[in-house]
């Protein structure tokens, strides 16, 4: 069912299927808005949220043969609440799914894929954890990640968490449209603006 609301300037905003728009907005920031034809907002959400998420993943990366690999701040360790940050990062949608794939693989006893990209840190009892022939990116423990990435581990974690949480606002916007400020709130800010101008 198509839903249409009005913007502040009276322009119609066609939300189309709100449920589908919400799911698309979760899958990729801005995708739900692109489906609704709200291209400016789609671009804004995509650039802002993916930019912050990719920047955070970059901060949590260390390249080179002796590096810990890419995007090591986004990882999933199952539903045991060992890595609460991932529940926020998961809000970004598909860009966080490699972490789930890595978790499923590692929990099955296999080595992580993609040179450790978004892989959880190796547990001490993992069969590949003590194999010195493997690159550090595969066998890196939690201690290795902190020792190699220093404060960028926390910075990258926070960036990606913020991106995931903010996408919830974007999902709401795709489902229901913008939450226009209350009339009195808007008029207050107009009064502030006029008094500042005077």
């Amino acid at each position: 069912m198509t839903t249409t609301i009005e913007s502040e300037s009276g322009q119609p905003i066609e939300l189309k299927s709100r449920e589908l728009a919400g799911v698309l907005a979760w899958l990729l920031p801005g995708l739900g808005h692109a489906y609704q034809g709200r291209w400016a907002k789609a671009g804004l959400y995509f650039v802002c949220l993916m930019g912050l998420y990719v920047h955070g993943a970059y901060l949590g990366s260390q390249s080179g043969p002796d590096g810990v690999g890419a995007a090591r701040v986004v990882y999933f360790e199952g539903l045991n609440f060992n890595r609460l940050a991932f529940f926020c990062q998961f809000g970004i949608g598909v860009p966080a799914w490699p972490a789930v794939i890595q978790h499923l693989r590692v929990s099955g006893g296999s080595k992580p894929l993609w040179n450790g990209f978004m892989a959880p840190p190796a547990k001490a009892d993992a069969p590949y954890a003590r194999d010195p022939d493997l690159p550090l990116a595969i066998r890196a423990s939690g201690g290795d990640l902190h020792a190699r990435l220093h404060r960028f581990f926390e910075l990258g974690t926070v960036y990606t968490m913020i991106a995931g949480l903010l996408n919830i606002l974007a999902i709401y916007d795709a489902c229901c449209g913008p939450v226009f400020p209350a009339k009195n709130e808007e008029s207050e800010s107009e009064v502030e603006g006029k008094s500042a101008a005077a």
């Binding site: 322009q11 910075l155 960036y159 606002l169 974007a170 913008p178």
Partner: protein
């Protein structure tokens, strides 16, 4: 030391401030004008709040 490690830590607050302000404003407006004005106001509030926390911490540090 990689170049990014030489950046003053405060600069790392800039991307989240910009993104939080823009996304929050975008969730409240559809038109570009009000959206950008709201984003600027939100960014100033965040920076002001951070500055206030900074002053409190600085005073505590000097008092210890």
């Amino acid at each position: 030391m990689p170049p990014i490690a030489q950046i003053n830590d405060l600069w790392f607050a800039l991307p989240p401030i910009v993104v939080v302000s823009l996304v929050y404003a975008a969730s409240r407006h559809e038109d570009a004008g009000p959206l950008l004005r709201h984003a600027v106001r939100a960014a100033l509030w965040i920076v002001g709040f951070m500055a206030a926390i900074f002053v409190v911490l600085e005073l505590l540090l000097r008092a210890v």
